[in-house]
């Protein structure tokens, strides 16, 4: 069974059909790209998958479990995590606390633990601290653990956002333009990191990206959106050479 199974997904804002009749199947462990020209509805798809918007029709099954009707926090607990196109870090909190916050549902203890710092609290907090540092180490951010998140340079902020999403231990990780604003060297590093986390954490990845080098370099399968509907899907080399796709990007 596929990890993610989207059928006939659609949403209207007033008269505007932002996404229409989208079908998408993602296998366990795959690394899939979602591409399309600006305004095609890519981020809207992410918002539908994570419960920010409620679709007007269709179904979204994750491991056979229906996601529609769940709140964003419930969907996260079901196993979908994401990053945002415009970085949304907890800017006043430390780098370490950003990741610790994401372990919210991974290591739990009650309010009495928080208020009275019980022995149970100490044990759990130690585990949280270790896990958070482990995740930071993967992204080479451990030495910045005590920095305020907003003080990190841009590229590291993007990495921290991925680290934070990964800390929730998702089955499916959604990356919204992870390479936006990065220089070629940073992008190359990022590609390596994405490959690495997929293999290390056994996570399935769906990413939106405009950088075709990145898309062609790491994605195993592509979906192309245009005007909210699916234009094409297939292997990268097929899709990227599809005349229809090229027309959608470049115009007639």
């Amino acid at each position: 069974m596929a990890l993610l199974d989207v059928k006939n997904l659609g949403i209207s804002f007033g008269g505007l059909r932002a996404v229409d009749g989208l079908n998408m199947t993602i296998e366990q462990g795959a690394l899939v790209g979602l591409i399309g020209p600006n305004g095609a509805g890519k981020t809207t798809v992410f918002n539908l998958l994570t419960g920010v918007y409620r679709p007007t029709d269709g179904t979204i099954l994750l491991d056979g479990e229906e996601l529609i009707g769940k709140s964003p926090s419930q969907i996260c607990q079901t196993g979908v995590a994401r990053t945002f196109q415009n970085i949304r870090l907890f800017s006043q909190m430390s780098v370490l606390d950003n990741v610790k916050a994401a372990l919210h549902n991974q290591v739990k203890y009650g309010l009495q633990g928080s208020l009275f710092h019980t022995p149970g609290y100490r044990k759990k907090e130690k585990a949280i601290d270790e896990r958070a540092r482990e995740v930071l180490r993967v992204f080479e951010l451990e030495q910045f653990a005590d920095y305020k998140a907003s003080n990190l340079p841009y590229g590291k902020q993007r990495k921290l956002e991925i680290a934070r999403a990964l800390a929730t231990e998702p089955k499916l990780l959604l990356l919204d333009e992870p390479a936006a604003g990065m220089n070629p060297q940073e992008t190359a590093e990022l590609m390596a990191t994405i490959e690495f986390i997929r293999n290390q954490f056994h996570v399935t990845i769906l990413l939106i990206e405009h950088d075709m080098k990145l898309v062609a370099g790491i994605c195993e399968y592509l979906y192309v959106l245009n005007f909210g509907t699916e234009l094409a899907n297939g292997l990268p080399e097929e899709v990227l050479n599809d005349p229809e796709v090229i027309t959608a990007y470049l115009g007639e």
């Binding site: 981020t43 918002n47 920010v52 945002f84």
Partner: protein
């Protein structure tokens, strides 16, 4: 018949108080629409207006009409100054910072008045001397007539001003998108100043009408009508001019009806409960637009 008369009398009462709320609410709403901030000090401009009128009429012995004009001008200037000194430096700051600053300005005005005029109430005779009229057994006081007439005129004028003049259009443009308006060559600073001037002038008119009704001055006199007008603005949907007018009138009527037929002591509780209930049902107010953060 007696009941009907009493209801009509209360309705008029409500419209009179509601007019004052509406005038103040317009200031809140216009400033919110353009500067995207709650000018908490707006209520205290009413107080400034009332004291200014008192100074002009009772101390400097200026005749009523020029005194009114001077008062309005003084408040408009005050509004512009407050914006320039306290709010302009915070235009790109956090909302919380702006709100706290506005609370600070409100406090500053109240306490300045307290230092200058002391806490003891100052009696002040109404400058509106219009005889009351009788219609079918219903007495309508001169003050009510003047209040309603002035409010109606101002509202009509304001609607025309915003929709028909160049400055009005500039205001609409800035409230829609400040950055884009600036790129289109609109002087944003000037537009914001004008908005504050108009809002404060309206508050001055409200202050004059208010003081002619209550005939006593204390430094905190602006607080309660200020908060209630704010409720009215929110009720009508903050940022919406017709909403402010509607909200003010509705609030005045609710208040006078609950005072007359339910309980004087609980009338404030009722007014604020209406606000809470409306916000729960429609978080952006009755005529307001809901702004959704883009993800």
């Amino acid at each position: 018949m007696a009941l009907l008369n009493s209801i009509l009398a209360q309705l008029l009462n409500g419209l009179r108080i509601g007019s004052i709320y509406a005038l103040i609410a317009l200031g809140y709403t216009m400033v919110y629409g353009i500067a995207k901030m709650i000018n908490f000090a707006h209520g205290d401009i009413i107080m400034v207006g009332a004291y200014a009128l008192y100074v002009f009429v009772s101390i400097l012995h200026v005749p009523a009409v020029p005194a009114v004009i001077l008062t309005i001008a003084f408040c408009a200037l005050m509004g512009i100054t407050i914006e320039k000194v306290a709010y302009k430096p915070l235009r790109n700051a956090q909302r919380l910072a702006v709100l706290i600053t506005a609370i600070g300005v409100s406090y500053l005005l109240q306490n300045l008045a307290l230092l200058i005029f002391k806490a003891t109430p100052i009696p002040f005779g109404s400058i509106i001397k219009v005889p009351s009229i009788q219609i079918a057994g219903l007495t309508i006081s001169g003050l009510t007539i003047v209040t309603l007439a002035v409010t109606a005129l101002i509202m009509a004028g304001l609607t025309l001003f915003v929709n028909k003049t160049k400055i009005g259009h500039a205001m609409l443009a800035v409230s829609e998108d400040q950055g884009a308006a600036e790129l289109m060559g609109i002087n944003v600073n000037r537009t914001i100043s004008i908005t504050f001037a108009i809002g404060s002038a309206l508050a001055a008119v409200a202050g004059i009408l208010y003081i002619c009704q209550y005939e006593s001055l204390i430094p905190t006199l602006g607080a309660i009508p200020g908060i209630k007008a704010f409720v009215a603005a929110v009720l009508g949907g903050i940022g919406s001019i017709p909403g402010a007018m509607f909200g003010g009138m509705a609030l005045g009527i609710i208040e006078s009806m609950s005072k007359a037929y339910i309980s004087t002591q609980l009338s404030d509780a009722i007014v604020f409960s209406v606000l809470v209930i409306v916000l729960l049902l429609k978080p952006s107010g009755i005529l307001g637009k809901l702004s959704v953060e883009k993800v």
